[in-house]
């Protein structure tokens, strides 16, 4: 049990000693991405090999004085695309291996763990350069990691490793050296803004809760990361669960709350498991519960799992869901800070926001303000995905440009594609194009261009993406996820989707564009909650930047990216066609005619674009005309 500050100091000292005693640590990435690539088998294999090698004391649990070697599961190491990722750490020297197969483990163990050799073939390579240390890899070197600092370095399931990484120093400082008001002030002065997308000043929110008359208050964490294409919060919850909890505990102390709730998306089973593990361990050690570290501060943590409703990412819907109700937003005011969970004053912040708090308390507001921009201090995590060379989890100072993110960190486009646009902010956001490559990404600037920073999904698109189809995709998402409470959102998104489907289906008219804009403006201004208010943004943004593509779909009945099925034209190349007649025989609608041993012909008015002919042509003679 850790009952006093002195107990915690001793425990931390032991954890530090233990960390220093390792001769070598094998760090196996256990983020969702790497586990999907098979990292658990790699971990098991290392354990097996380590156990089988005589002369090496292997240390699995977190005690034992003669520990030499540690095999650890860490949070996301970043370059998800190249998983399973493994780091071999000896003192300050770290080697990053990529695409590690269980069959590689023996060689790594013999050459890099027992020996000091580096296995060239497993190293990270980019543009002809090979990188040994993770910190040299451009993808990582160009990032500034505060929230993700521990991800990939420490065992995400061990309190001792968290303590050794400096964990709970901020909480101690807050609890013993600061008054609650001072903490709120510090967070306020740091300029930290809500990382869930809204960008509301966190300190101001805390102040509002702190000054409520009602004494029963709640601290709630929004881990319902529903934006398709975003996985930053999931990575923090599973990669550094203790940090999130520490941030919430500080918030609890600052606003005099005794209960914290984390609402986690149902699709993140690993986040739930790691958070549960962390909470159980903290309760067991006495760091959560009553009279924490011998003080009057009591704090209890609860986990609620989402049940597949995107709208629950909205504050009042989220608290309704925790209370056991349908997750539907309500009219505000009263706001969540006044009447949130159980109609009590509630601090509701996002995962990344809380994860920023310990560092701010420990290093001060001035330090935090030195990173990022004047109006948006600090860093932002993004999940970088789509048609880009290096997909993965990144953290950069606010104000970094898209060019730096896509070309320096992301390594440029995949398969030599041409950059077309980046979708930022998910279904509530918009598109930025090559004209915006040098725009600094911060809350205000991005908004100026009709998009939002949002929670941090960055989906990079190349020439093979149809922007009209992307708009339809997002609209079908928000339409499906509309809770149905208010008419503008429920009916408006439905009608907008119908128009978009008509356009990608080749039946659009020019008037549809005006109708779309009119509906979009209505939905945006009349909807009850953020979901509806932002639902038209992808449409408005693409209409604004890629209007010519809409017009092409409507007037020329052409989709230049060859994505929209209804607008495809299947054509037979006479140079390759041998006149075998297989296509005509297979065509389900009899759209192909011809004479044997001569070039066949497809009647595109009859054609249903099923692609059977193309898929089965032995001579690759059939192609799609844009």
């Amino acid at each position: 049990m850790i009952r006093t500050r002195e107990d915690l100091r001793k425990r931390t000292e032991l954890a530090n000693e233990e960390m220093a005693s390792y001769d070598c640590r094998i760090l196996v990435c256990s983020g969702t991405g790497c586990i999907a690539s098979g990292s658990e088998k790699v971990y098991d294999e290392f354990l097996r090999i380590a156990g089988d090698t005589p002369g090496v004391t292997v240390e699995f649990a977190s005690h034992g004085p003669e520990a030499h070697l540690g095999v650890k599961k860490t949070g996301c190491q970043g370059v998800c695309e190249l998983g399973p990722l493994v780091r071999i750490q000896k003192g300050g020297k770290v080697v990053q291996y990529t695409k590690v197969h269980p069959s590689d483990c023996q060689e790594i163990f013999s050459r890099s763990v027992l020996g000091d050799d580096v296995i060239e073939s497993l190293l990270y390579k980019q543009k002809g350069v090979t990188y040994t240390s993770p910190d040299e890899i451009p993808f990582i070197a160009k990032q500034t990691r505060i929230v993700l600092e521990n991800c990939g370095k420490y065992d995400s399931e061990s309190l001792d490793e968290y303590l050794a990484s400096g964990g709970f120093q901020a909480f101690q400082k807050a609890l013993f050296e600061m008054k609650p008001e001072e903490i709120v002030d510090e967070v306020d002065r740091s300029g930290l803004r809500g990382r869930g997308g809204g960008g509301f000043p966190t300190g101001r929110k805390w102040k509002q809760v702190a000054r409520q008359k009602e004494k029963e208050r709640y601290v709630v964490c929004n881990g319902d990361e529903g934006d398709p294409g975003a996985f930053m919060d999931g990575s923090v919850m599973e990669g550094d669960p203790y940090k999130l909890i520490e941030g919430m505990m500080i918030a609890g102390y600052a606003v005099s709350s005794e209960n914290g709730y984390i609402y986690v998306r149902a699709e993140y089973p690993m986040s739930v498991a790691r958070l549960r593990h962390a909470i159980a361990e903290l309760e067991d050690k006495g760091l959560l519960g009553d009279h924490i570290l011998g003080t009057d501060f009591n704090f209890h943590m609860h986990i609620n799992r989402g049940a597949g409703a995107f709208v629950c990412g909205e504050g009042s819907a989220l608290t309704a869901s925790i209370e056991g109700n349908r997750g539907m937003p309500r009219v505000k005011p009263p706001r969540t800070v006044e009447k949130g969970l159980w109609a009590k004053p509630t601090v509701l912040n996002n995962v990344e926001t809380y994860a920023n708090v310990p560092k701010i308390v420990l290093q001060g507001a001035d330090w935090y303000r030195s990173i990022g921009t004047e109006s948006s201090p600090g860093t932002k995590t993004f999940s970088l995905t789509g048609s880009i060379q290096n997909t993965g989890l990144i953290e950069v100072p606010m104000g970094t440009t898209l060019r730096e993110i896509i070309f320096d960190i992301g390594g440029g486009m995949k398969d030599g594609g041409t950059f077309k646009a980046v979708q930022i902010g998910g279904p509530s956001g918009g598109c930025l194009t090559k004209d915006h490559l040098d725009v600094p990404l911060d809350f205000e600037t991005v908004k100026k261009y009709g998009a939002i920073v949002g929670s941090g999904g960055l989906v990079v698109m190349d020439d093979s993406t149809c922007m009209v189809e992307v708009a339809r995709f997002f609209m079908s998402f928000t339409q499906r996820e509309s809770c149905g409470k208010c008419v503008p959102c429920r009916e408006g998104t439905k009608r907008m989707l119908e128009i978009l489907e008509k356009i990608v289906g080749g039946k659009g008219e020019m008037e549809d564009l005006d109708r779309l804009e009119e509906l979009a403006t209505m939905v945006k201004s009349m909807s009850l909650c953020g979901l509806g208010k932002s639902a038209p943004l992808p449409v408005l943004s693409t209409l604004n930047t890629f209007r010519d593509e809409y017009i092409e779909h409507i007037v020329d009945k052409k989709c230049r990216a060859k994505v929209c099925t209804a607008l495809r034209r299947f054509v037979i190349n006479p140079e390759f066609c041998r006149g075998c007649g297989k296509c005509a025989k297979n065509c389900p609608v009899g759209a192909i005619t011809g004479v044997r041993k001569e070039c066949y012909h497809i009647d595109n008015d009859l054609c249903i674009k099923c692609s059977t002919c193309k898929d089965n042509c032995a001579f690759d003679a059939i192609y799609i005309e844009a």
């Binding site: 695309e81 799992r305 995905t385």
Partner: protein, 160 residues
């Protein structure tokens, strides 16, 4: 009428969360995790036990996409259609599953109760798009061909 053991299991689950209205969602989640669906009679029972009306319980259960009153297959295959997966062509993967298993947008579960195919908005493994989740295991970098291999593999493990 459900077998007695269903109610026993429900009692156990209810005891874990306490007889209060706010326990409804976690109780339903655990029941569904146990039986792969939410038996209607059991929901009625739970409502009574935790002190809410039957209509309230149903209104909540039908609001959330995760709850299903229909029995699901042994393998629930969730094809991710999040933005990153969509951009990296997830649609043909869904088609491949549906075609192989004779399923459609309306029919989600095979008659032998082995497979259920659904889409999901994002699995959070976007770096490895397109992805598919079978029960709780994520499969990265899928292709229509890999989808067929996966089905064969899963069918195989029923026999051993």
């Amino acid at each position: 009428m459900l077998d007695e053991c269903y109610y026993k299991k429900a009692d156990e689950i209810i005891a874990g969360y306490g007889k209060k209205p706010s326990s409804l969602i976690p109780i339903m989640q655990d029941i569904q995790a146990e039986y792969r669906y939410l038996p209607g009679e059991l929901l009625t029972y739970v409502a009574k036990q935790i002190g809410i009306s039957e209509s309230k319980a149903y209104s909540v259960a039908t609001f959330y996409e995760n709850f299903s009153f229909e029995e699901k297959g042994k393998y629930v295959i969730k094809v991710c259609d999040g933005t990153a997966c969509h951009v990296r062509k997830s649609a043909p993967i869904l088609e491949a599953f549906q075609k192989e298993l004779g399923l459609s947008a309306k029919k989600h579960t095979t008659d032998d109760m082995l497979f259920t195919v659904e889409t999901v908005s994002c699995l959070g493994a976007c770096g490895l798009a397109p992805t598919v989740m079978v029960n709780e295991e994520v499969h990265p970098k899928m292709t229509p061909e890999a989808a067929l291999d996966l089905i064969h593999e899963l069918r195989g493990d029923r026999n051993d």
